[in-house]
């Protein structure tokens, strides 16, 4: 089913062939096609103290369709989380990632599950990228037992040990030194893996970041610091918070690369390059030029510090899913209808997961005391009245 080379043929002939292929397929046969395609990234990379990787990215139909599906899933998941929050099924804080999906999928395409990822609180899609399931996501958001952190973490604290996702963190910037620690352990164990420590443009001004950077550079740790620059630290535009918003240059002696974070293929290329660099010569900073459509969190409308025109402008010109869709359509890897079907499928998956998540119960009250310390330490915890309530922490 090598339909990928219909670039040169007119759409007429493509239309003739399409019904044939879709008629023969149960799902999409092209999703297993791995014939290479070369695509140019939207903008060239800008580098600091290193040679930028090439603009031409190798990909294949399978990868592109996977990108499309995964990003559509993430987008749908975030929108569903928005509605759940407004329906008060999700309480507390909820920071949505829609608009930034290209980074989550692009990074995963370049690395393995043995590489570690650590990020801040905008972690739903990063968790999905690491192999998390929709059920775990929605259950955790709603605080249920079936959630990835057993309902005790919530939106900001998704973790996945078996795929080395070291989680979501609430305190801004605190995860970066942690990430460098992970990289140190990786270097020590010599297993040719790297750590991606993600942070935002707001966190880029935290002191602990520079401490971590210095240590990583001093000891040549395989740490890749990724600044997901969505241009607003909560409500503050980057130029109001940073003297130098060129975050990829902030490392000074540490090389950096600026990447179009809305282009999944550019992200993949950059992450591949960064991994090679980190394993060979130590830390590197990646700045992902990306954008979030929602506000900082669900309590932020997102329109008091930026115009609606700006948001819709980015959505029209740079939306990551649309970019991949155009790529798929222009290379005739799937028809519009097939892509729409994928989106419908994804929608249904999300709805099913929400239904199942709603059925999951809240954690038992006794779980309030679990995991404060390591198990079996026998430490006593005192309750509201020190004499009345004594619980031995399990």
């Amino acid at each position: 089913m090598a339909l990928s080379y219909l670039r040169s043929s007119s759409s007429r002939s493509a239309n003739l062939l399409k019904p044939l292929s879709s008629g023969l397929s149960l799902r999409s046969p092209i999703s297993t096609d791995t014939t290479p395609i070369t695509v140019e990234t939207s903008v060239p990379f800008t580098s600091h103290r290193c040679d930028a990787p090439s603009r031409s990215v190798e990909t294949n139909p399978k990868e592109l369709l996977t990108f499309f599906r995964d990003m559509a899933l993430m987008r749908r998941m975030e929108i569903a989380a928005d509605s759940l929050y407004k329906a008060k099924l999700i309480r507390g804080f909820c920071h949505l990632y829609d608009g930034q999906e290209a980074f989550a999928v692009g990074m995963e395409a370049a690395i393995t599950k043995k590489d570690c990822i650590i990020t801040a609180y905008r972690d739903h899609c990063t968790f999905m990228g690491r192999g998390g399931t929709l059920l775990e996501v929605f259950a955790e958001l709603m605080g249920r037992q079936a959630g990835c952190s057993k309902g005790k973490g919530g939106s900001m604290h998704f973790y996945k040990k078996d795929s080395n996702f070291y989680g979501g963190h609430g305190i801004v910037g605190a995860q970066v030194p942690l990430g460098c620690g992970l990289a140190f352990a990786q270097k020590y164990s010599k297993d040719e893996t790297v750590t991606f420590a993600m942070y935002g443009d707001g966190a880029a001004n935290q002191g602990q970041l520079f401490e971590a950077l210095n240590i990583s550079a001093l000891w040549d740790l395989p740490a890749i610091l990724v600044c997901e620059n969505n241009h607003y630290g909560m409500g503050t535009a980057e130029w109001r918070a940073a003297k130098s918003p060129a975050y990829y240059k902030r490392g000074d002696y540490v090389p950096g690369l600026k990447v179009d974070g809305m282009d999944a293929l550019a992200v993949k290329q950059a992450c591949k390059f960064a991994k090679e660099h980190a394993l060979k010569s130590g830390p590197i900073i990646l700045e992902m030029d990306t954008y979030r459509y929602h506000g900082h969190s669900m309590s932020d409308p997102g329109s008091t510090y930026r115009t609606r025109d700006e948001i819709s402008g980015v959505r029209q010109e740079r939306d990551p899913i649309e970019r991949i869709r155009k790529l798929i359509l222009s290379h005739d890897l799937a028809s519009e209808k097939e892509l729409k079907d994928i989106e419908k499928e994804v929608r249904k998956e999300v709805d099913d997961a929400i239904t199942r998540a709603k059925e999951s119960p809240m954690p038992e009250p006794s779980k309030l005391f679990t995991n404060v310390y390591a198990k079996g330490l026998g430490v006593e915890s005192f309750g509201a009245d020190r004499k009345e309530v004594r619980a031995t922490l399990p």
Partner: protein, 376 residues
């Protein structure tokens, strides 16, 4: 007779059940609290009652205090994350427009930097009013507060000081805050000689106390109960007034047991007192207001009167400030005590997400402890 009126508004979507119950108008009437307040407020506040007052909520009261502070002192500055547009809790609305961006400005996201910068500004004789967006984020600045701010005057032999520094931070549970938007870190700071820790319980208190803190010649950490920002509404005088620091206030007279608390927890304790009243237990409620240096005399006098004491705070019980109060009371009033000092506080776990109603020292827990102590 000056009647203090508390009108608690009901926000269903934001509150846990019990807190909703605690704040509902009792039988639809306005609750009279602190009736004896006038006699026990110190003389420095005798002008509180005069002049016009308006019914406003906590964030408006704090806003007013900041307006007054900046108006009366041309060398006062307000800064922090997002303060310029009004702040995430609207405490700083209108300041940038009125006083200009040179005096009211945003800082980047760096708490350690904010406090360190504030210490420097204060050391040059200015009034630096720094805002930490949530008390949970104050820890990167902990070193600056403990090692720099608190010890500046001491180690320089009084050559320098950063008394003009006031750090404001919203603290406390809010119903859905989770691990990092609900903490009460006051105990950490109470362990540091050299700074003051002040926590208001209501809008009127907040305005007066904040102005006192700003004008106090020592660095002060001012924790604001975020849960009360919109919920607590009170008559607040419009003029400039200050309430004294290090003076506790007996806000409810009683004879059977003394309850000591601060901030938002007082409203919960108030409800417990009212319930206990129905069982014939007369409770005396003391608002500590300033945690360090705290007013031992008032609390001791109250304990000598009642012979029993219960302390309540949201922070975890082990290592919480209740321990200090308890130890101090036992030292000074041992023979007078009829029962052990009771502490009804948060549990010894990280501030939980869905388990918040179990963690919190609720009205019923306090009521149980009151009865247990009285019946000891």
């Amino acid at each position: 007779m000056f009647i203090v009126k508390f009108v608690f508004l009901h926000f269903v979507c934001l509150l846990q059940r019990e807190r909703e119950m605690a704040l509902r108008n009792i039988m639809g009437k306005r609750v009279r609290i602190g009736l004896m307040g006038r006699r026990l407020l110190s003389t420095a506040t005798c002008d509180v009652e005069s002049g016009n007052s308006k019914s406003i909520n906590l964030y408006s009261a704090i806003n007013q205090a900041l307006h007054v502070a900046l108006e009366t002192d041309p060398r006062a500055f307000v800064f922090g994350e997002d303060v310029s547009f009004g702040g995430v809790f609207r405490c700083t609305t209108g300041l940038a427009d009125r006083f200009g961006k040179a005096r009211v400005f945003n800082t980047p996201l760096c708490e350690q930097g904010i406090v360190g910068f504030g210490i420097g500004l204060a050391a040059m004789g200015n009034r630096a009013i720094a805002e930490i967006q949530f008390a949970d984020y104050i820890y990167p600045a902990f070193d600056q507060i403990v090692n720099e701010a608190a010890k500046f005057r001491y180690r320089s032999g009084n050559q320098f000081n950063c008394g003009g520094l006031t750090i404001r931070a919203p603290y406390g549970a809010v119903g859905h805050g989770g691990h990092y938007h609900s903490q009460s870190p006051e105990a950490f700071f109470c362990h540091v000689p050299g700074i003051k820790v002040v926590i208001p319980r209501s809008p009127r208190q907040a305005k007066g106390l904040l102005l006192s803190c700003i004008r106090d010649p020592n660095p002060v950490v001012f924790f604001e109960p975020k849960w009360l920002y919109r919920l607590a509404v009170e008559e607040v005088p419009e003029h400039d007034y200050m309430l004294p620091l290090s003076e506790a206030e007996v806000i409810r007279q009683g004879s059977d047991i003394t309850l000591v608390g601060w901030g938002a927890q007082l409203s919960i304790m108030e409800q417990a007192c009212i319930e206990a009243e129905k069982d014939g237990i007369s409770c005396e409620l003391v608002d500590l207001k300033t945690l360090i240096p705290w007013d031992k005399e008032t609390v001791e006098a109250s304990v000598r009167k009642t012979g029993r004491v219960l302390i309540s705070h949201e922070a975890p019980v082990t290592g919480g400030f209740g321990g200090e109060i308890s130890a101090s009371i036992v030292e000074s009033c041992f023979l007078r005590l009829e029962a052990p000092v009771a502490r009804v506080c948060g549990l010894d776990t990280p501030f939980p997400l869905v388990f918040e109603p179990f963690y919190m020292p609720t009205k019923n827990k306090i009521l149980d402890a009151i009865k247990a102590t009285v019946n000891y």
